[in-house]
């Protein structure tokens, strides 16, 4: 089984492209975050950047495995690595995507708690991964758990917006709200594949908002340097 199983045939390829775009945006923001961390040495910024990097990698993995399935390259790779089943290869891709995405979301949620101790981080990580990987329906549990994390993140960003009242913080709150609704749609895509498409579109809106915020901050940096 793979994520692409939930895609309508006409959407094949579009999902690969969209996931790749999401990955580029996330990695760009993560690298920028690491640059800010270098200037500030503030650990929450490091966690944030790490989280975005993990989530970006999860989309790269998803995009690659979906492309393998679309192009039938997965069969050739299975022969090359002497793997008996293509379904098993697709499953590895799915589990790797879920692993990186879960780690990224857990780190983001932990960062939002602003706690000194690392114990809650490890606890959330272990519980989430055990629940997903030892479940009879790992995909469904993955979407459920990630939806819970995303709603907590929406809560955090909403509180941040109410505190700061800046346009940028509002953009990020709305972006994560789109991510939450997108994730919910993916959970339903196992029943009907149109939800897979809707989920991708909602994620596209979310990541375009994140990109818009990132470009605005970069533009202000350039304006300041030229002044």
């Amino acid at each position: 089984m793979s994520f692409a199983n939930f895609s309508p045939k006409w959407f094949f390829g579009f999902d690969v492209a969209l996931e790749f775009i999401f990955a580029i945006i996330l990695v760009a923001v993560a690298l920028f975050g690491f640059k800010i961390y270098k200037s500030t040495s503030q650990r929450y910024i490091k966690y944030f950047s790490l989280a975005f990097l993990f989530i970006g990698i999860s989309y790269i993995i998803q995009s690659i495995f979906n492309y393998f399935m679309l192009s039938k390259l997965n069969q050739a790779i299975c022969i090359m690595i002497k793997l008996q089943s293509v379904a098993l290869f697709n499953l590895y891709g799915m589990y790797t995507h879920m692993l990186f995405m879960t780690i990224g979301l857990v780190i983001l949620v932990y960062m939002s708690f602003k706690m000194e101790s690392k114990k809650p981080l490890w606890l959330l990580m272990i519980i989430s991964l055990l629940a997903i990987f030892f479940s009879y329906n790992p995909l469904y549990i993955f979407f459920l758990i990630s939806s819970v994390y995303l709603i907590f993140l929406v809560w955090h960003f909403l509180e941040n917006y109410l505190k700061n009242k800046t346009t940028n913080s509002l953009i990020i709150t709305v972006a994560f709200l789109f991510l939450f609704f997108g994730n919910v749609h993916f959970a339903f895509s196992m029943q009907h594949n149109i939800f897979y498409v809707v989920g991708h579109i909602l994620e596209l809106f979310a990541y375009l908002l994140i990109l818009m915020n990132f470009l605005t901050i970069k533009k202000n940096e350039k304006k300041k340097r030229s002044a």
Binding site: S39, S41, S112, S169, T216, E221
Partner: protein, 92 residues
């Protein structure tokens, strides 16, 4: 009523005070200008030394004073960018 300063803002205010002095500043002067309690200032100064934003030196009379490093100057020049990024994601 002015809102409570977050960590990034407090660091900015301390570094700004040190930069304003130019040649090095004593802890008591930072205390008056930064609007922090003695304990908080001590904690922040330790953190800023540990993270190489400032260095602690001793004058001929044996009195401590603080000077900005390149990293400290860099923080101040990039503060707007840091602020925008941190405010977007609640990283303050």
């Amino acid at each position: 009523m002015k809102r409570k300063r977050d960590r990034l803002e407090i660091i900015h205010d301390i570094l700004h005070v040190i930069r304003q002095k130019g040649s090095g500043i004593k802890p008591t002067h930072i205390l008056y200008k930064s609007n922090l309690s003695h304990q908080m200032l001590t904690d922040y100064l330790s953190e800023l030394i540990e993270k190489s934003f400032i260095i602690e030196e001793v004058d001929k009379k044996g009195k401590k004073f603080y000077v900005l490093t390149d990293k400290g100057f860099n923080y101040l020049s990039e503060y707007k960018l840091i602020r925008d990024f941190a405010d977007s994601y609640g990283l303050g």
